[in-house]
C-alpha cells in the first residue's frame, strides 16, 4: 500500500474514479466556496460542503465498483433532496447529516476490509502502485 501526502492509502485494486478535469472542477468549487464563506451566512458553509460531496459522488458514480456505485446512487438520491433542508428544518438537517456520516463510514470500512482481504492481481492498477 502507498500512502499519499493527503493521508489516504491506495488499497490494492483501487479503481481511479475521478478524471483530472472532474477533480479540478471540484477543486474550483471548494476553493471558491471557501472564499464565499468569508462573507455569506454561516450555515451556507455547511451547505457548500454537502453540495461538494454531492458533486464528488456524481463524478465518481459511473466509474465506481458495484458496491460503491450502489452506495453513491443511494447517497445522491437522498442528498439532492435533503441538502436544501438547511434553510427549512435544521433539526431534520442535522439528523440527515449524522445519518449520512454514519453510512459513509460504514461503507468506507466495508470497502477497506474487502480490499485488504482480497488477493491482488500483479498486473492490476492497484497491484502496480502498491509497494
Amino acid at each position: 500500500m502507498a500512502e499519499h501526502h493527503s493521508g489516504t492509502v491506495d488499497e490494492p485494486g483501487d479503481p481511479l474514479v475521478v478524471s483530472e478535469s472532474e477533480a479540478l472542477t471540484l477543486l474550483a468549487h471548494l476553493v471558491t466556496s471557501a472564499e464565499l464563506c468569508m462573507t455569506e451566512p454561516y450555515d451556507y458553509g455547511i451547505f457548500r460542503l454537502i453540495d461538494a460531496a454531492s458533486r464528488l459522488a456524481r463524478a465518481m458514480v459511473a466509474r465506481s465498483s458495484g458496491e460503491s456505485r450502489a452506495f453513491l446512487e443511494a447517497f445522491l438520491e437522498e442528498v439532492d433532496v435533503k441538502k436544501m433542508w438547511s434553510t427549512r428544518d435544521r433539526e431534520r438537517y442535522g439528523s440527515f447529516l449524522r445519518e449520512t456520516s454514519r453510512r459513509t463510514a460504514e461503507h468506507l470500512v466495508a470497502m477497506a476490509d474487502r480490499r485488504t482481504s482480497a488477493p491482488v492481481a500483479p498486473d492490476s492498477p492497484g497491484g502496480r502502485d502498491a509497494k
Binding site: L24, T25, A28, H29, V31, T32, S33, E35, L36, E40, Y44, R48, D51
Partner: protein
C-alpha cells in the same frame, strides 16, 4: 386626476409576480433567441439611478464557458442554457460621475434589472434564478473580463427541469392586509409623537395583529438596538 385603470392589467401583472418561483435545475432545451431578447429588453426597462445605465448584460451561452462558470459559482446548482451576467462597467460609471465605492444605488439597479428579467422570463414560461454566490475574481478570469468590468449578479435562464413546485408564501390567496405576512409592513403614522409600536388589525385572518404603526425610521433603529434608555 387618476387615469382609468387598464382592464385586466393589474391582475395580470400581479398574478405573474405572485406565481413566479426560482428555478434551480434546468433541462437541456435551448432558450429561443426571441424569448432571450424579450427578457433582455425587460432588463433594459428597469429603473436606473439617474438613468445612468452603467450595468451591461453579458449573455453566456457557450456550453464550455457555462461549465467553467459553474465550477467557480457554488450558487449554481445546475448548468442552464443561458446565463445573463449583470455587470458594472466602471468606465461608464466614471463617465457618469458615479462614485462606485460609495454609491449603493448601483446595486439596487442591478436588482431591479434582475427582477424585471425574472418576471418577464416567467411570463415567457421560462425559469430563472438569481445567483450572487460566485468568486468575482474567478469569474472575471473565466469570462476574460476587463479589470474595469465587475460581475455583479448571474441570472440563470432556461426551461425548468420539473414543473414549478406549488410553494405558497404566507398570505397568498388572501387580499388586502391579510395578504401581508406578519412583520412585513410597518405603517407610518403621520403626526405620531410617541415612538411606541402600535399594533393594528392585520395579518392572517384577523388574528393577533403583527402590523405596526411606526412613527419614523429613527424609532425603528432604537427598537432594533434594544430597550430604550430613559432619562
Amino acid at each position: 386626476m387618476p387615469s382609468e385603470p387598464r382592464p385586466g392589467l393589474a391582475e395580470t401583472v400581479l398574478e405573474t409576480i405572485r406565481s413566479r418561483r426560482v428555478t434551480r435545475v434546468f433541462d437541456d432545451h435551448p432558450v429561443a433567441d426571441e424569448s432571450l431578447l424579450q427578457v433582455l429588453e425587460a432588463g433594459r426597462w428597469a429603473t436606473s439611478g439617474g438613468n445612468r445605465r452603467i450595468h451591461p448584460f453579458l449573455v453566456v451561452r457557450d456550453p464550455r464557458t457555462l461549465a467553467r462558470l459553474r465550477a467557480v459559482t457554488p450558487g449554481m446548482f445546475s448548468t442552464p442554457p443561458v446565463v445573463i451576467v449583470i455587470c458594472t462597467d466602471a468606465t461608464r460609471a466614471a463617465e457618469e460621475l458615479v462614485q462606485l465605492e460609495h454609491d449603493t444605488t448601483t446595486w439596487i439597479d442591478v436588482g431591479t434589472a434582475a427582477m424585471n428579467m425574472m418576471v418577464a422570463a416567467h411570463a415567457l414560461e421560462l425559469g430563472s434564478c438569481p445567483v450572487t454566490s460566485f468568486s468575482h475574481g474567478a469569474v472575471s478570469v473565466v469570462l476574460g473580463l476587463q479589470p474595469t468590468v465587475e460581475p455583479e449578479l448571474f441570472l440563470l435562464l432556461g426551461h425548468p427541469h420539473e414543473p414549478t413546485r406549488p410553494v405558497r408564501p404566507t398570505g397568498s390567496g388572501r387580499t388586502g392586509a391579510a395578504a401581508l405576512p406578519p412583520g412585513l409592513v410597518w405603517w407610518e403614522q403621520p403626526g405620531c409623537a410617541t415612538p411606541e409600536l402600535i399594533p393594528i388589525q392585520g395579518g392572517r385572518g384577523g388574528a393577533a395583529a403583527d402590523l405596526y404603526h411606526r412613527s419614523d425610521r429613527a424609532d425603528r433603529r432604537v427598537k432594533a438596538a434594544g430597550p430604550r434608555e430613559t432619562g
